[in-house]
């Protein structure tokens, strides 16, 4: 979709959400205000213990513990440490838009996702087929990534890179949650 004027945006024809991550349509987990209040406290301080949360919200520590466990068991909550890209030594971030030719985009996307340098891959609507975020230690890694990794993947018609020079905000507290191992 392209927007060049203030006119209403057209919905792209044939846009389907097949294969979409579970969304509003598959709502099956029920939760109440108490659950949301606990989540809010955990977002403020994920390391707060059950007793501290209980005191803030006027609950018992047992209730807090049970509620957290229920949300975790349903794969709807993870309280985690998020680490900065730089903590992993990734000092170069590239966002690369990929055009695919002659192969299903999902096949190419899965092969891209298997590369360790690729930290995120999405199949997208619009001008390009795949959007990926690539993290490298430095620009010297780029030659290896392009010439040894990407060159092994068939069906890539074009790569349009954008060098990430600054990140003003980056806040994702809703995400697909994988089952615990």
């Amino acid at each position: 979709m392209r927007l060049t004027s203030r006119g209403p945006m057209r919905k792209p024809a044939g846009l389907t959400y097949a294969g979409q991550m579970p969304g509003p349509m598959t709502q099956s987990f029920s939760y109440d205000a108490t659950d949301l209040n606990i989540v809010e406290q955990l977002r403020l301080n994920g390391r707060a213990n059950n007793q501290q949360i209980a005191e803030t919200l006027g609950l018992t520590a047992t209730t807090v513990s049970n509620r957290i466990k229920r949300m975790e068991d349903a794969n709807q909550l993870r309280v985690v440490a998020v680490s900065d890209f730089s903590a992993h030594g990734f000092n170069v971030l590239l966002r690369i838009s990929v055009e695919v030719d002659g192969r299903p985009a999902s096949d190419v996307a899965h092969e891209l996702g298997a590369l360790p340098e690729v930290v995120a891959v999405h199949i997208v609507t619009g001008r390009y087929d795949i959007d990926m975020l690539v993290a490298l230690h430095d620009f010297e890694d780029l030659a290896h990534f392009l010439l040894d990794r990407l060159s092994d993947i068939h069906g890539i018609r074009s790569l349009t890179p954008a060098i990430v020079v600054d990140i003003c905000s980056y806040q994702f507290d809703v995400a697909p949650i994988e089952a615990k191992e």
């Binding site: 994920g46 707060a48 900065d84 890209f85 199949i123 980056y170």
Partner: protein, 162 residues
């Protein structure tokens, strides 16, 4: 962005805490064979240096906004930073990257329907002074995504534990 000096213990701590941040210092200390004081001190330092932050990540069944959308923006080069800050202040926007490429700003947001995306892209972003072109794309399928690695833009206020 100089590479920080992290030793094996830091890396082990990050690894443990990225799986579950609610493990007690005592348990971590026992697992890694160090004292509780060391664990507490290391965690505090990592937080203060903006290398880790603790948060709660919820799944899509606990909120409506589920679809990731990219809003690619072409803005005047002399106004990029200003425009990016204005976009970052929009409550519906989760991430803002300043880039060098075909577009100079990418905003990411989680939307529950196309109308919400239109609202943000054409009503709010396209009207910002200095923005002259906006393109959107929606992630219809996510193949790989790691919520545990991010850009920590505001180091957390460190709360003393225990």
């Amino acid at each position: 962005m100089a590479a920080p000096l992290l030793d094996t213990l830091d890396t082990q701590l990050i690894d443990l805490l990225s799986r579950d941040a609610r493990v007690s210092n005592r348990k971590i200390a026992a697992e890694l064979g160090v004292t509780e004081g060391t664990v507490r001190g290391r965690i505090k330092r990592l937080q203060q240096d903006g290398l880790i932050a603790f948060t709660a990540i919820t799944g899509f069944e606990m909120g409506k906004r589920a679809r990731l959308a990219f809003i690619n923006v072409q803005a005047d080069v002399d106004k990029v930073r200003e425009v990016a800050r204005t976009i970052a202040d929009l409550p519906q926007v989760n991430a803002v990257l300043i880039t060098m490429g075909q577009f100079n700003i990418t905003a990411m947001c989680l939307v529950d329907e196309l109308d919400a995306l239109v609202e943000i892209a054409s009503d709010q972003i396209l009207t910002i002074n200095g923005v002259h072109h906006v393109e959107t794309s929606i992630a219809v399928k996510t193949i790989k995504y790691n919520a545990r690695m991010a850009k920590i833009t505001r180091p957390a206020e460190v709360v003393d534990e225990d």
